[in-house]
Amino acid sequence: MGLHFIDGNQAVAMGALYGGCRFFASYPITPASSLLAAMLETLPAAGGTVLQGEDEIASIGYCLGASMAGMKVMTATSGPGISLYSENISFAIAGEIPIVIVNIMRQGPSTGSATRGADSDVQFMRWGCSGGLPVIVLAPADVSDCFTLTVHAFNLAERFRCPVFIASNKEIGMTSQTLDLERVEKPPIVDRTLHESGPFLPFQVNPGEDVPAFLPIGGPTLVRQTSSTHGPEGYITTDPSEIQAGVERLQRKIEANIESFSYLDLEERKGARTLIVAYGITAGAARAAGTELFERHNIPVSLLVLKTLWPVPEQVLLSAAEGLERILVVEMNLGQYVQEVRRVLCNQRVDFYGKMSGQLIAPREIIEEVLGG
């Protein structure tokens, strides 16, 4: 097989098909529209359903209905659309509805710049809905990651019955790159655990587990889904201990398992005193900066590329930063994820470099930042 030449959005579509996506609904928005186009070009022919919603709220709503009817579902938008998804995202958390949400981030605030990339929504995806419960956010750094992380996203959504974000960026989604599909990591497919025997309660978890077994709406066994605070039967509960146990479980099922899905690349260089922490499109520039610093300036610098942003992979950060003098977080915004790094590495020097001008952060800017520190 030769090389494919596709953009990040097409690679997400490829990964979605590989990962078992059967239903996709979205509303056109630059820079995510080409993902809608790519899904439309492939999913119907593969027997799946593509719907162009009347707006973003509807698009995620269609997905939630289809997911509860048993399908693997995905939607795609950019920052302004995530705002409109918000209430349904918290429903997906509360109702434990598996869904992959692709956010092709663009320059904010507000309408911002439709055709300019930025890492605008890194905190927003985590905190942008009521209740404050955790979500999973994966950040691809290139076209290859777009494929692999989308497969992971479907697997995680199925495994934990929760929303999983792909935090892409215009600069990844709409940039074409060569891809050797044979060499791309293709994780094994995970399906949601189905209830097998005994009475079915839609939100009952087995002892020692944190994720309820699933049955689809429309099957022979009656299924209830509700956005309201509920007990195991799926009816509204007013019992404070049941409510507390419920929300704690929703938090625990994601956060307690972070080590099983902390995706990353770590480039450690002997003698490094600085660790660059980057994600998304900026990871490539950081990698180029690290190489140049070493080869031209004889300065070894280590690099941590985070591909799981939320929950924060704290152990990864602690271990990668151990013994280093300086941590430099680089991101395409005015300093969002650096807040998490500072919280976790509170005893270390954590510096920030970023900008949100619509331009990529170039390797030379990172090099200057390292040399200037």
């Binding site: 030769g2 030449f5 490829m14 509860m68 940039t175 074409s176 709406i217 429309g218 956005s227 520039a285």
Partner: protein, 433 residues
């Protein structure tokens, strides 16, 4: 058939609430249709109508205010055999207006029962999109200022093929509901009733008064023949079965030896209509034919037929990390719009870099070596310029050769398009430099 009501959760509406009656009417319709609970899903949203799903032993989906139709559509598309019944109040109908219109237009086989009681009962009796202007509600004088809408009229205008209005007290309402549920397409039933706790305290509304009010409005009794057409989900499945999808995600085999050993940055600076991005794609393909790694990113106005058009390519035997162009080895400057956007790049160019410059395009000082070309004199049209410039680049054998470009053309275009592209190359070859 047995009742589908949930014996463990009897309806808990206020005494005298018409919703209580609606629950039993719906149950009767489902019973008489001989439906089992597992063959039905009740999709509800927020407010008193949102309690409906809990009273039935059917599948149930209770979601956000005004969004019930969206969940219902997703469920129906995934489970085509299921009877999908949506209960919404007039409140939910107002907040989900766009979904209501879309459902009417789209015609998925759902039954929408609007439990229309002219106010937001659960939140304290505020006015809704159906509250009469003269009614006294808890929104002060605000409802006096807004005209209520006739949701049946709206539904019919928006394309719903089945629209009916009825008082909750009518004896034949179960029959009407059965007809709506059996109808293959989107069916709206506007069920008028009273909210004793909020609305009816200041606006008495007897069954007779409801009947009289309905009589004053246009009649909707079911099938709207002018809107009858194919149901969306079965139509979708038929269309999708014929859809062959794309063949664009093909790989490109390596058939040439690499021409470069190091990263090359090439940027086209043009304007809309010059087919800059297409030329960039051809350059990419030509390089991939030699096994190169390539990245291409484009910059253009959202009004795609006007303004600058810029495409940046990186061609490298090594893995590409940074996808930006910093110090291009090649600038193809064919229009002032693109040049202006990237004015600063010219001075950053290294010595030995090449600039293919369309005659008449002003550029800033640059250490690059300029090859000025009079495309117009060579008979090159605007839409051919980027490809012609690419040919001139290929003649220099770095980063691609003419043979590679010709092969890329052959793999990209067919028939007339290919002939036209080849003619462009011939014209470009004849330009005196």
């Amino acid at each position: 058939m047995d009742s589908l009501l949930n014996p463990h959760r009897p309806p808990v509406f206020c005494p005298g609430c018409s919703h209580d009656r609606s629950v039993h009417v719906l149950d009767r319709a489902l019973q008489e249709m001989g439906l089992r609970g597992s063959e039905v899903v009740i999709v509800s949203d927020i407010g008193c109508s949102g309690l409906f799903d809990t009273f039935f032993n059917t599948h149930a989906f209770h979601g956000l205010h005004g969004r019930a139709l969206t969940y219902a559509a997703g469920i129906k598309l995934a489970q085509p055999e299921l009877k999908v019944i949506v209960t919404m109040g007039d409140g939910g109908l107002g907040i989900g207006g766009a979904h209501f219109l879309a459902a009417c237009r789209r015609n998925i086989d759902l039954t929408l029962m609007v439990l229309n009681n002219f106010n937001f009962g659960m939140t304290g009796g505020q006015f809704s999109c159906t509250t009469p202007e003269h009614a006294s509600v808890s929104s002060g004088f605000l409802n006096v200022l807004e005209k209520p809408f006739d949701l049946c009229h709206v539904a019919a205008c928006a394309g719903a093929p089945f629209v009916a209005r009825s008082s909750v007290y009518r004896k034949d309402l179960p029959e009407l509901l059965k007809e709506a549920i059996s109808f293959e397409g989107f069916a709206v039933v506007d069920v008028w009733g009273g909210c004793p706790a909020r609305y009816m305290k200041k606006n008495p509304l007897s069954p007779k008064e409801i009947e009289a009010a309905i009589e004053k409005l246009p009649t909707y009794q079911g099938v709207v023949s002018s809107n009858v057409r194919r149901e969306y989900s079965s139509h979708y499945r038929e269309a999708a079965a014929k859809d062959r999808g794309i063949v664009a995600w093909q790989d490109t085999e390596k058939i040439f030896e690499p021409t470069v050993r190091e990263r090359r940055e090439v940027i086209f600076l043009g304007s809309a209509g010059q087919r800059v991005i297409t030329a960039g794609g051809l350059l990419a393909r030509a390089a991939i034919l030699a096994g190169m790694n390539v990245s291409q990113k484009n910059d253009f106005h959202i009004t795609v037929m006007r303004g600058p058009s810029v495409t940046e390519l990186i061609i490298s035997p090594q893995a590409i990390t940074y996808t930006g162009v910093e110090q291009p080895q090649v600038i193809i400057a064919i229009d002032r719009e693109g040049v202006r956007r990237c004015w600063g790049l010219f001075e950053k160019m290294k010595k030995g870099g090449k600039i293919i410059l369309a005659a008449g395009v002003e550029i800033p000082p640059s250490p690059g070596e300029i090859l000025e070309v009079d495309f117009k004199a060579g008979g090159i049209k605007k839409k051919e310029m980027a490809l012609a410039a690419l040919y001139l680049l290929a003649q220099q054998r770095d980063p691609i050769t003419v043979e590679m470009l010709e092969e890329a053309l052959k793999q990209t275009f067919k028939g007339k398009m290919l002939e036209e592209a080849r003619l462009v190359l011939e014209k470009a070859a004849a330009i005196p430099i």
